[in-house]
């Protein structure tokens, strides 16, 4: 099928690289977290109470995905649909409280003059922003702050942003929710005492898959085409092929290897990138060799590969350096010691190739 493969490739790439669609399979622990977050945010929006919570989990296990799913669900909920504004801050990008404040003002769609903000203190500025929001729209709009890389915000000066946000969430003038996403388990220790006391200590932990069965099911759901895919014949063949693949020994072995090294979703998606990208009209179905090739490419020994490209001279130097570093028991040494040492001179060989020694530089 000529267009089938191309359409399948586009669809699967969207699955792998954007969080919009994930095949529909949600493992158990994620369901719980999803449910809790949704409840909390609904309470903030509908009942106008302030809340704060933290989602902690290692990299690639789906924290941002959880937030996106919750927001998608909130969109579908009639009660919540237009009653909130989302403000998204990232610790890597907004490295300073001032930058964060400007970003908050921008995302709340408030036209603000810079001079006003620099003259006011941080808390006054934040209060002004939230009051402006409230008075502007009339209705009681709640703001949901999503702070990605939460631990980096804790390294700002005085932690003033965190303090003010959590302070506002505790007092009931403006209903806001503060959701922090981080990968550090000890993030609460990083907070100052006054900030920690204002935090609600609600922490949700996200873990990657603990069983291979879940992992394989996730892989299958990522690779399956949805029911409303246009080319039915192609889809039928595709689904049969996927079923066969997931019983194939090579594919299972590749998945197992990747699972053992890191069981999170992001690495699974990296593994699946190459098989998906190789789809073409002449290669319309996935093949087991794609998976083993993909595994090999990702986990290639990079240092060994680079060393294979060195010249003989450079390798001799490496050998001599290794010997010297062993002999000197870890103490520092310099190039002179290597060059004048007997290890180096023992490696020089005069090839019988003309009357000169090529390696004697």
């Amino acid at each position: 099928m000529t267009t089938g493969a191309a359409a399948a490739e586009t669809l699967l790439r969207n699955r792998l690289f954007s969080d919009l669609d994930d095949g529909g399979y949600v493992p158990e622990n994620k369901k719980e977290v999803l449910g809790t977050v949704q409840q909390v945010l609904e309470r903030t929006i509908v009942e106008s109470e302030g809340n704060s919570l933290l989602i902690i989990g290692p990299r690639g296990c789906g924290k941002t995905w959880v937030m996106d799913s919750v927001f998608r669900t909130l969109q579908g909920d009639r009660r919540c649909k237009d009653n909130y504004i989302r403000v998204y801050l990232n610790g890597l990008v907004h490295t300073d409280d001032r930058l964060a404040l400007l970003e908050i003002a921008r995302q709340l769609n408030i036209d603000s003059d810079n001079e006003e903000h620099t003259s006011m203190s941080f808390s006054a500025a934040l209060d002004y922003l939230l009051a402006a929001l409230r008075s502007g729209s009339g209705a009681n709009q709640s703001v949901i702050f999503v702070l990605d890389e939460f631990d980096l915000f804790a390294s700002h000066k005085n932690q003033s942003l965190l303090y003010n946000l959590l302070d506002i969430s505790q007092s009931s003038h403006n209903p806001i929710a503060v959701v922090g996403l981080t990968c550090r388990l000890d993030v609460v220790e990083l907070l100052e005492k006054r900030v920690k006391s204002r935090f609600s200590h609600r922490q949700l932990l996200l873990f990657p898959h603990s069983e291979f069965r879940d992992y394989a099911t996730l892989a299958q759901s990522l690779l399956s085409l949805p029911i409303n895919f246009k080319q039915r014949q192609f889809r039928h063949e595709w689904q049969k092929n996927i079923q066969k693949l997931l019983q194939n020994a090579k594919v299972l072995q590749a998945l197992q290897q990747q699972f053992r090294l890191s069981a999170d979703v992001r690495s699974l998606k990296t593994l699946l990138l190459l098989p998906v990208s190789r789809l073409s009209p002449t290669h319309p179905q996935l093949a087991p060799s794609d998976f083993s090739l993909s595994l090999e490419l990702i986990h290639r020994d990079s240092l060994g590969a680079v060393m294979k490209g060195l010249s003989v001279l450079e390798l001799c130097l490496l050998v001599a350096v290794r010997q010297i570093s062993e002999l000197s028991c870890g103490e520092p040494f310099n190039f002179e010691m290597v060059y004048c040492g007997k290890q180096w001179s023992s490696l020089l060989v005069t090839p019988r190739y003309g009357n000169h020694s090529i390696l004697q530089l």
């Binding site: 359409a7 790439r13 969207n14 009209p281 290639r300 490209g309 001279l313």
Partner: protein
């Protein structure tokens, strides 16, 4: 001296175990080192090490699958969904978007434009560039194929970050530049040595994306950079923006949050951005500063012998027969491959040596077919070039001039002699010479031995210690150590025969030695005892 013999034996044993360790990793090359006699025809030896058959097993499995891909005979037109649908599907933060635009909408778009035709040349999408790319970049077919499949069509999503690594001159930058310019997608090519601060980096990237390769757009911080990228994507293009950062290891020294945020640009901007990092280091060296996101690795292996010869024969100057140039290039490879496999260096050296190689042909002494005579003529030049140019002792212009002088017999300097005599000879006054010698002794002798060497009184003999002494590193090789001023004066007076009063004259000679940069003064914070010095000259080792 049984201890030294046993020490030597243990060293030899340890050396042997290292050899066996390394042999696993670099079997072929190590055998070449230990071979006492190479074959007369260097070609065979190099074939065994770096020949066309040198592949690892993983690659063999790949080739079978890749053969299918290269025969892209019948393909259809690549479908380009409408721009607005894609855009709204991607904007997740800025506006309140409907959750159900998603897949169904997109697919309908794709199907509407569907057309089951075979194009004129049978290949469409990004693969139509494949053959022209391979012909322009010999030796890199596999990497081009991998890159083209990973990057995908410009309107498809692709991995957010890619890491391209390999030895020097393996064509990383060249391949990326060629691919991106032939795909005609918005891309930015930035060298991280040139843009050494984040602001410069943002400004140059934005200018390149807009098509202005020598301009600069003012951009102060990462949030404004992200906003500019978003506005650029919304106004200009629905295609993926590719940002290539050359010498990516320099990003570690800039801001601590710069590298992680560059790797996540796609997620932060909610647009299609692909960051490609190019470096000679392996990813493990950058991983600490990268904050958790691992880009997709892509290795560019070193060229094999056949590939090097193919690329170098493209350099053949016009008017010369190709086979003649090929034999010359073959000689260059056979001689220089053990020392340097860097393609750039080899091409530079061959461009220097080719005129010399052709000389006997031009002067009519030998004909083009007499390769043995030509080889014997060029051999000493090879040796000279290896020791002079490769080590950058003299520049190529100086070498060429020296050749001309040699030929015309003006000077008697032969090629084997060293550096041109441009160093001035320095005449120091009497005390300065002694001061310099004293500072050399102070720098290179540990202070414990001063009493033994320089004291004029008789020493009470100390009993030799029975403890075995560790092999001390050669102090000559470790470099000079700093010494305080009074130690210098003490050694100076002990080596000087006559008695001289310490006057301002002597001390001013020390400061003139510092000015001449023969001795350097240390500028550390705690100089409570007086100034400290270190000697800069060295006796030849």
């Amino acid at each position: 001296m049984s201890s030294t013999a046993s020490m030597r034996r243990s060293q030899r044993h340890r050396a042997k175990s290292f050899k066996s360790e390394l042999e696993d990793g670099v079997q072929a090359t190590y055998k070449a080192i230990k071979l006492k006699s190479l074959e007369k025809d260097g070609r065979c030896a190099s074939n065994r090490i770096y020949g066309e058959d040198y592949e690892d097993d993983g690659e063999k499995a790949v080739d079978e699958v890749e053969e299918e891909l290269t025969e892209t005979d019948s393909a259809s037109e690549e479908q380009h969904p409408k721009r607005t649908t894609k855009k709204s599907a991607r904007n997740r933060v800025e506006q309140v978007s409907d959750g159900d635009t998603g897949d169904a909408g997109r697919q309908e778009e794709e199907e509407e434009e569907g057309e089951d035709g075979v194009g004129e040349d049978g290949v469409h999408g990004r693969w139509r560039h494949y053959h022209s790319l391979c012909s322009r970049l010999p030796g890199r077919e596999r990497q081009i194929q991998l890159l083209l499949s990973l990057l995908g069509e410009p309107r498809q999503l692709t991995c957010p970050a890619l890491y391209v690594y390999g030895n020097t001159s393996t064509g990383k930058t060249l391949v990326l530049k060629t691919i991106l310019s032939s795909l005609q997608v918005p891309h930015a090519f930035v060298n991280c040595i040139e843009c050494y601060s984040p602001k410069l980096l943002y400004g140059t990237i934005l200018a390149h994306l807009m098509g202005d390769t020598s301009g600069y757009v003012r951009c102060d911080s990462m949030p404004s950079f992200i906003r500019s990228l978003q506005s650029f994507a919304d106004e200009r293009t629905a295609e993926t923006m590719y940002i290539v950062l050359d010498k990516a290891e320099r990003l570690r020294e800039m801001n601590a949050t710069l590298l992680p945020s560059l790797l996540r640009l796609s997620e932060l901007t909610h647009r299609q951005v692909c960051t490609i990092l190019v470096s000679e280091l392996v990813w493990e060296k950058l991983a600490m500063s990268a904050g958790g996101l691992r880009p997709y690795p892509l290795h560019f292996p070193q060229y094999t012998r056949g590939e090097v010869l193919a690329i170098m024969s493209l350099d053949c100057p016009e008017g010369e027969p190709l086979s003649f140039y090929r034999t010359f290039v073959n000689h260059v490879w056979n001689v220089f491959q053990y020392v340097c496999r860097d393609l750039g260096e080899l091409r530079y050296l061959s461009s220097l040596l080719y005129p010399k190689y052709c000389e006997p042909v031009e002067s009519g002494e030998t004909s083009r077919q007499e390769t043995r005579k030509l080889w014997r003529h060029i051999e000493p030049y090879f040796r000279g070039v290896m020791s002079k140019i490769h080590l950058r002792e003299i520049s190529s212009a100086q070498w060429v001039k020296a050749q001309v002088q040699m030929d015309s017999g003006e000077t008697s300097t032969s090629l084997a002699q060293g550096v041109p005599q441009s160093k001035a000879v320095l005449e120091l006054p009497y005390f300065s010479k002694y001061l310099l010698i004293a500072s050399y002794l102070a720098s290179y002798n540990p202070s414990k031995t001063d009493k033994k060497f320089f004291s004029k009184q008789k020493q009470a003999r100390t009993r030799k210690s029975k403890k075995p002494r560790k092999e001390k590193p050669n102090h000559q090789l470790l470099g000079p150590k700093p010494f305080p001023l009074d130690r210098l004066m003490a050694i100076f007076y002990s080596i000087l025969e006559e008695a001289v009063a310490p006057s301002a004259d002597i001390y001013s000679q020390i400061s003139s030695l510092v000015t001449l940069q023969l001795v350097s003064q240390l500028h550390t914070k705690d100089l409570l005892d007086g100034p400290k010095y270190k000697v800069y000259t060295m006796l030849p080792v």
